[in-house]
Symmetry: C2
Subunit: 229 residues, 2 copies
Amino acid sequence: MSAPGRLNQDILVGTAMALADAEGLGAVTLRRLAQHHGVTPMAMYRHFRDKEDILDALAERVLADVVLPEPDHGPWDEQLHGVITALLDALRPHPNIAGLVHTRMLSCEPGLAMAERTLDLLEQAGFPVEAAADSASQILHSLVALVIAEPGRAPGADAEARDDATRATKAALSALSPRRYPHVVAAADALAACSSLERYYERGVDLVVSGVRGVRATRYECEEVSPRV
Amino acid sequence: MSAPGRLNQDILVGTAMALADAEGLGAVTLRRLAQHHGVTPMAMYRHFRDKEDILDALAERVLADVVLPEPDHGPWDEQLHGVITALLDALRPHPNIAGLVHTRMLSCEPGLAMAERTLDLLEQAGFPVEAAADSASQILHSLVALVIAEPGRAPGADAEARDDATRATKAALSALSPRRYPHVVAAADALAACSSLERYYERGVDLVVSGVRGVRATRYECEEVSPRV
DNA sequence: ACCTGAACACCGTTCAAGT
DNA sequence: ACCTGAACACCGTTCAAGT
């Protein structure tokens, strides 16, 4: 495809990302990577230890796009909102790759930076260290899940195929027994595809931040209003 | 391994599940499945359309273990707590398989049953249908993420290897610069492994249910206490 | 109806060899 | 230092054939 030119890890990770975005993770292959650069598959072992190493680099590349807002002296929940939004902005363009982040958050620099900020904010909010660790992990992983589960996206196909898949899902859900699944049938369109992706993600962020606020209010702070049990 | 006896889909899914639990999804292979039953790989095509079909069946089998509590007239949030716990109880024994559920929740009966119950409860809580759809999706996927991210589990190895991995993670996190990652270093042990899995999952459920309560309070109900903005 | 045998196109990975 | 060629063990899948 491109001139054999100079081959390095950054370039290769770039084409791996393009492959994953266009055709899914299944298309990320030593052989296709090599072929795309007019080179033999074994040449890849000059740049990566093994396949796993490529996937690690792919996850790190996505997380490297996270632009954390500068820490300020605003309320912890607004700052948490900012961190969460920064992660989502980085993940959303690469839904096929997002899943890789699940197991690699704590093994690359940008993931650690995000964990650090999240832990900081949770401890500012009053969470004890162990609760902060568990919660930070869940928060970050929930956002990954939010991107993976984004309604109306097919595993790794082009826009047309994705559209077909969405239509098929709508039809399948609408065709269910309305006696047995009344709510699913009523919500078929909303479950199969978002009317607004922006609103979907706003709701997702809202749910997570509200969860942290609620846990704090009921567990780690006595002098504030607490929702009913 | 076992006598050629009678081979059917249920038996094969059972051995696929055992393989996945023991060695990870990578071990679930047409050829290993066949070999385990002393049969040729092509015999699998009598029982499954293709490999994807096996993974679908695997996800459905896990979800089939969900025991939804009977609907009652208790408060919606307590009932939601019950549904969430039921899903977690089914997923937790099969962390290697949990990820398959992400894309298959709405394409099998037990997944639909859970979506139906969740939508029902959210609408009881006052969520408009579209918000309920987005939120139900996120709730269920967050729980999958909770299991996948369970601290201290390696992708698909035995207990000993998992222990080694946990120790290595602890060491790696503890060895980070305490100037740059003070909170990560301080929380290294808690991030690498749970002191109590039960507490980890309780916190996870709590965070999700609190999130729903909070969103309801600020958006879909005016006469209750609402946390500060 | 259920299983086999041979074949195909594709994987990741190794090793010794080239320049 | 960087890439090649040949080989190996493993994939999913097809097709025609057996009983």
